[in-house]
Amino acid sequence: MFEWLGITPQGLYGQLLVGLINGSFYATLSLGLAVIFGLLNIVNFTHGAQYMMGAFVAWMGLTYFGINYWWSLILAPLVVGVVGIILELTLLRRLYQMDHLYGLLLTFGLALIIEGGFRQAFGISGERYEIPEALTGATNLGFMYLPNYRAWVIAASLVVCFLAWFVIERTKLGAYLRAGTENPKLLQAFGVNVPVLVTLTYGFGAALAGFAGVLAAPIFQVNPVMGSNLLIVVFAVVVIGGLGSIMGSILTGLGLGLIEGLTKVFYPEGSSVVIFVIMAIILLIRPAGLFGKEK
């Protein structure tokens, strides 16, 4: 069936699965961005640095304090989330009344400073983080050799994405959040403490990035620029999905991972461009993105 494409079905399934794994990272990261943009109207360029910090917190925990991977999965997002909350309280808070551009400049500057600091401290080659003992090895699926850790990455990010979606779309807290997005003043008049809600949302978005960082640590080299390499793609994912749309960013993340995976088989040279080509086409046809609402 696939012979005319010059690839065996086995090869194709393998590539699709690899695409799905990358898609899981895109989904988790773009979800955090979408949540932050939805409520704060801030384009969070620090997201890549927060992802990197998640990976480094996991590495430092293991190296200096002997904290294992599973604890890091909880601890690192907490640490990154708290750092995010401090940033929000001290700096970001002052920019809500201003143009988007100021938030973008501030978060971009912060990202450069954080990455520079880590580069100064740890060098550029990065540090290694071993795959946790329970997830080493691989399973033979017949069409490919799937490392157990990668299977775990897909499962963990899908669960986290689903939980985030559930909380935002199906719970009372989520209803407040969405109401805050629509009309913060009115919500405050009902007695909801909107500033606290905003602070916690930013912390949550940052924590999601930190979580993705811990997931990524054993697969990629833990290095100071790991976030900036990924961030631009993740932004494209958010734009294609529709800024601020939760489900949109999850589905788009997974879908673009698949498309990118296929490009790597048929025309690898184009795999870094394909997402941006899709972005350009989507913006021409649907300027608000696939799942976004026109305002």
Binding site: G11, I21, I124, E127, G261
Partner: protein
């Protein structure tokens, strides 16, 4: 009569002594020898060159005594960020205004190619240790460029040819999609074919990349005995890590075209064990390399890469040539450098050819298993010494205009 004789003798003596006195001070332009270490202080090459290269240059100056022909030696540093435009303007500023006599290191092949042309125009010396492209001494050679530690041809040729001769006949390449990667793949493919092997295919990935599992699966599906990795730095470390994850390193062999000791240090032996590659230097080769590397380690807290060790060797040779030539004029110094063999901890009977290539022995190294490693930084074992004449592009194939064809 007597006083006349004395006078004559004095005058003669003064004349005889004059050239020596002149050489002591006047032959050094601006009264100082300035070594400009242009390197990558914060980017992707800052571990393999960077501050370690600066330290190596300073160590060479200290060991030389800090002065040559009575003039002080100074080391200045600059961060080129591996970008040709930044490197070029820094080179112009250094040579025009800051009286720099030699520009050393120069990571990033594109930046190195840009800088050597400026150096040639301004009649100074370029001592390339980091930049790897073999074009520096081939079609883009100049009579003011010396290429010290290694080049792409020597690495690709050494690894690919040796492995093919040992029976690894089928290859698949993972190559970054830019000039350096393409020339690496070409040099390696030529060597494989010449040794009787064949290249089953290759995949070119965007540079820089983040996830390589897709390419690794393609390499796995090709069924090739050896997967040749032409990428470098963080791209390479990620590829190797993911190859181990997908179980590729157990069935197929990974051959690394360009890797540094610092990369192995950062990835760990578990991920890199058994891999074979070509290096120009390793700290644990003999007493001399150990002695120098120990001094380096005490100040840098990391063992030297071939680039950093080559930096010391090159700067030392340059300073000795100034002393022997009695001047720091670039042409005379380069002539002297080419005429003098290099014999130090880095190279034995190294020779700078007319095209500017410092030809010295290269080493085919294998990464140790974790249990074989006895101490920190004990990572490699020597498989084979590749004699310099076999390692580097033969002059008969050179496109360099300086090479006189017979």
């Amino acid at each position: 009569m007597l006083s006349k004789k004395v006078l004559a003798a004095t005058v003669c003596g003064a004349f005889a002594a004059a050239p020596a006195a002149f050489a002591q001070t006047g032959k050094i332009s601006d009264g100082v020898v300035k070594i400009g270490v242009m390197t990558d202080l914060s980017g992707i090459y800052s571990d393999l060159a960077g501050p370690g290269s600066v330290l190596a240059a300073k160590m060479a100056v200290e060991d030389f005594g800090g002065k040559v022909l009575g003039a002080p030696i100074e080391v200045v540093t600059g961060d080129s960020q591996n970008k040709p435009d930044i490197a070029s303007s820094m080179a112009r500023r250094w040579l025009d205004q800051e009286k720099v006599d030699v520009i050393a290191d120069i990571p990033g092949s594109a930046a190195a190619l840009a800088v050597v042309k400026i150096v040639k125009d301004k009649n100074r010396v370029a001592l390339v240790s980091s930049g790897g492209t073999s074009r520096l001494t081939n079609e883009d050679c100049t009579d003011r460029t010396i290429h010290w530690a290694y080049d792409t041809y020597a690495l690709a040729n050494g690894t690919a040819r040796t492995l093919t001769q040992e029976g690894a006949k089928s290859w698949f390449f993972i190559t970054p999609d830019y000039a350096f990667g393409h020339s690496m793949e070409k040099d390696a493919s030529d060597a494989i074919k010449a040794a009787g092997g064949k290249v089953l295919g290759s995949v070119r990935h965007p540079f820089p990349g983040s996830d390589f599992s897709s390419y690794l699966l393609q390499a796995q599906a090709s069924g090739a005995q050896v997967i040749g990795l032409n990428n470098a730095g963080t791209d390479l470390t990620t590829t190797i890590k993911q190859a181990a994850e997908f179980g590729i390193s157990q069935k197929q062999r990974l051959a690394l075209m360009i890797i540094m000791l610092t990369d192995i240090h950062s990835m760990g032996l578990k991920a890199t064990q058994g891999m074979v590659y070509t290096d120009a230097f390793y700290w644990d080769l003999n007493d001399e390399t150990r002695a120098w590397s120990k001094r380096f380690f005490e100040r840098h807290k990391r063992m030297p890469t071939m680039i950093q060790a080559g930096m010391y060797s090159g700067v030392m040779h340059y300073l000795k040539a100034i002393k022997a030539a009695g001047t720091d004029e670039a042409g005379a110094v380069v002539t002297k450098m080419k005429a003098t063999p290099v014999n130090d901890f880095f190279a034995k009977n190294g020779k700078i050819r007319q095209d500017g290539r410092m030809v010295h022995d290269m080493y085919l190294m294998q990464v140790k298993k974790p249990e074989e490693s006895k101490q920190p930084w004990d990572y490699l074992k020597l498989l084979k010494v590749i004699p310099g004449e076999q390692a580097y592009l033969p002059l008969s194939k050179s496109l360099c205009p300086l090479v006189k064809k017979k």
